[in-house]
C-alpha cells in the first residue's frame, strides 16, 4: 500500500515550489486546486522514486532514464514559450496567470528530442581554439539555443528564448539582448 500524505505535507511542498518559482522568475498556475493536485503528484513521486518525477509522465523508476522529466523538466521553457504553460500546467506564463489566456492541454515534445540527439554524435578529435569556438556555436545553433544577456543586471543564460522575467533583477524579457 502506498504511503498517504497529509494536507500539511502537500502544503509544505506547495509553498516551497511556489516561492522557488517566484524567486526564479516563474509563475505557478494560480488555480490553487489544480496546482496543489500536481504538487501532491510530485510529493507522491518523490516518495515512490526518490526524485520528483513529472506527475503527468510515466516514470521508469530509473533516474538515468528520467533525468529529463524531473520537475522542473527539460521541456518547461520551450513549452512555456510555445504554449504558455509546461506540459502539466504547473508553470504558466504571465498571460495565463492573469487570465488573459486560457490553459489548454499541450502536446508531448519529449520524444522529439531523442531522435535529434541521436543524430548529432560527432567523432572525437583534438580541436584548435577557433575550431572549438566554431563547434560550440554550431552546437548552440543545432539546439536552437542563443546566449542572452540581461541589459539591466548582466545576467547571462543559454536558452531558446530569454526568460519571461530575469531571475536576478526581475525585469521583463524585452530587456534582454542576444549575444550569440
Amino acid at each position: 500500500m502506498e504511503r498517504q500524505y497529509s494536507e500539511e505535507d502537500i502544503e509544505k511542498a506547495y509553498r516551497k515550489i511556489k516561492s522557488d518559482a517566484e524567486s526564479y522568475g516563474y509563475n505557478l498556475n494560480p488555480e490553487e486546486d489544480f496546482t496543489r493536485s500536481l504538487v501532491k503528484g510530485l510529493v507522491i513521486n518523490t516518495g515512490r522514486y526518490g526524485y520528483q518525477s513529472c506527475p503527468c509522465r510515466l516514470s521508469t523508476a530509473k533516474i538515468e532514464e528520467d533525468r529529463d522529466i524531473i520537475c522542473p523538466c527539460d521541456y518547461r521553457d520551450a513549452d512555456l514559450n510555445d504554449y504558455g504553460a509546461c506540459y502539466c500546467g504547473l508553470y504558466v506564463d504571465r498571460d495565463i496567470k492573469n487570465g488573459v489566456k486560457k490553459l489548454k492541454p499541450i502536446p508531448e515534445r519529449r520524444f522529439l528530442k531523442q531522435s535529434s540527439e541521436e543524430s548529432r554524435k560527432e567523432p572525437d578529435k583534438i580541436l584548435s581554439v577557433p575550431e572549438k569556438i566554431d563547434s560550440f556555436v554550431r552546437s548552440l545553433e543545432s539546439k536552437k539555443i542563443g546566449i542572452w544577456r540581461c541589459k539591466v543586471c548582466g545576467y547571462l543564460c543559454a536558452r531558446e528564448n530569454p526568460p519571461e522575467i530575469c531571475p536576478i533583477c526581475k525585469v521583463g524579457s524585452d530587456r534582454f539582448e542576444r549575444l550569440l
Binding site: P55, R57, L58
Partner: protein, 96 residues
Amino acid sequence: MAPKIKHIEGKDKGNLKLYALSTCIWCGKTKKLLADLDVGYDCIDVDLLDYEDQQEVLKEIRKFNPGGGFPTLVIDGKDCIVGFDEEKIRQRFESM
C-alpha cells in the same frame, strides 16, 4: 499476471479503455469528464502497475498512440483519443 483493470460504471458506449496515471491532472480531468458524461469504461492507472505489467501495457498503448503519452483513450480497439481533448471526447460520446 494480468494488469489491474478497474471498471468504471456508466452507459455502454462501446469498448473503452482509458490508460492513465494516478498522479496526472489531465488524466484526472478526463476521468471526471467521462463520469459527467456517464460513460462506462475500463481504467488502467499505469503508474500503479509493477514493472513487467507496465511494459506489457505500454506495448498495448503504443499500438494506438506511438508517443505513449497519457491519458490515452482507446475506443473499440481501433480509435484513440490522446490527452484531455474535451471537444473530441464530448463529440464522440455526448450525442450517443
